[in-house]
Symmetry: D2
Subunit: 134 residues, 4 copies
Amino acid sequence: MSYARQMLDTYSRTFNVDADLLAAVIDALSDCAQACDADTAADLGEQNVTEMVTCIRLCLDCADICTATARVTSRQTDYDANVNRPLLEACAAICRSCGDECERHARMHEHCRVCAEACRRCERACRELLGATQ
Amino acid sequence: MSYARQMLDTYSRTFNVDADLLAAVIDALSDCAQACDADTAADLGEQNVTEMVTCIRLCLDCADICTATARVTSRQTDYDANVNRPLLEACAAICRSCGDECERHARMHEHCRVCAEACRRCERACRELLGATQ
Amino acid sequence: MSYARQMLDTYSRTFNVDADLLAAVIDALSDCAQACDADTAADLGEQNVTEMVTCIRLCLDCADICTATARVTSRQTDYDANVNRPLLEACAAICRSCGDECERHARMHEHCRVCAEACRRCERACRELLGATQ
Amino acid sequence: MSYARQMLDTYSRTFNVDADLLAAVIDALSDCAQACDADTAADLGEQNVTEMVTCIRLCLDCADICTATARVTSRQTDYDANVNRPLLEACAAICRSCGDECERHARMHEHCRVCAEACRRCERACRELLGATQ
């Protein structure tokens, strides 16, 4: 059981959504941020780094947005749709773009394949949370 | 001249907006993040900390979202409206909420007055950038 | 298998340490940052928030330092002892302080018990990496 | 007057150091983080990106470490030498390395010249604070 899930079990929440879903979103956000940071470094170590520039740029934005969204979602401040919805939408959008670009390099670079998978999972989780809080 | 403005002058940008506006947004985001972190600590040092809980929560979210938005905006990756617009909207919304709450404590706590000002300026800057990139 | 471990398996590293240890450190850092963010929010929701002020302060510093250390360690830039050693030392020290304080509240607040555990695990992981890179 | 300085004037601090110095450190950290993020993006836009790989790697680490140090220093939690000293040392060390690398490209790339200046100023500020808190 992840720390996100354990922490959610210990206190009453203001976010009125299923704890399993919320924990899955937080874990997917942390994993995606980590994968994007690692993929950035791996891309920079490739010989064809010029071809990896778009991938690096997207990984950098994705890591920053996922990190902030993970922190805000972990704290579950009084849910404010005006803040949380566009933040999750921005996060889903960058995970989509970053996942698409990583997938283009997936056959060539195994690190991009793993990162694409983390982005896909995170995009799905963000969209599921958006659906559950409508 | 701020570093944000100096850096913008040194390279051709992909964001098709006025450099003065872009630099003002980046500076306002950094200032707001810093003010919110400082206000969090100042709130925690007040005797009536129980009354400051909402202010602390909002400052924490505002600092995280401003920090991420500052980093993404500083890098000016190929502008993607699906990412940048909701991110700026989330940022403007949390600056609005945080500014409103800080203003409620402005007469009692000078640190909240200064933080409210930083939030207002950041909200305006984000909305101006949103207007300029429509 | 965590994403950190999967990513490490996909590319040759510059950090000359065991991949299992490195992945364990990255995972412990991410978990600790997340637990500290969640604990901050949980502390702010307690009735005796005045007694939780020190815990909140330490959780905030711990979350920021663990987040940065996780990102730097995930990228494994050319290992530079002048940067990496003091960063890991700062991280181990804040995990120690934060874990001690959380433990003081562990019997009263289950969320502090879980957070203390995440801090202890992270402190151990940082010290093990420091030992392995001497 | 920067927001860091204004905020410091509004509340009694636990860090027993001169407010001018503390504000200068916080501003230098924020500026350096911003310059490094902007320089990363500018490097990625250069034709000779392969030659900029080391500069990009160092800018990424420098931005993350400066961001965390700015946040921790802005909050001025009860000063703990075991945490604050190694954190400032890690920060000074990465600013040194990143400033050296940026300087190597300063004649070729104006953005690296500006970033080197931000790194130098930040390194000096961190070392001055280390000296003042001995």
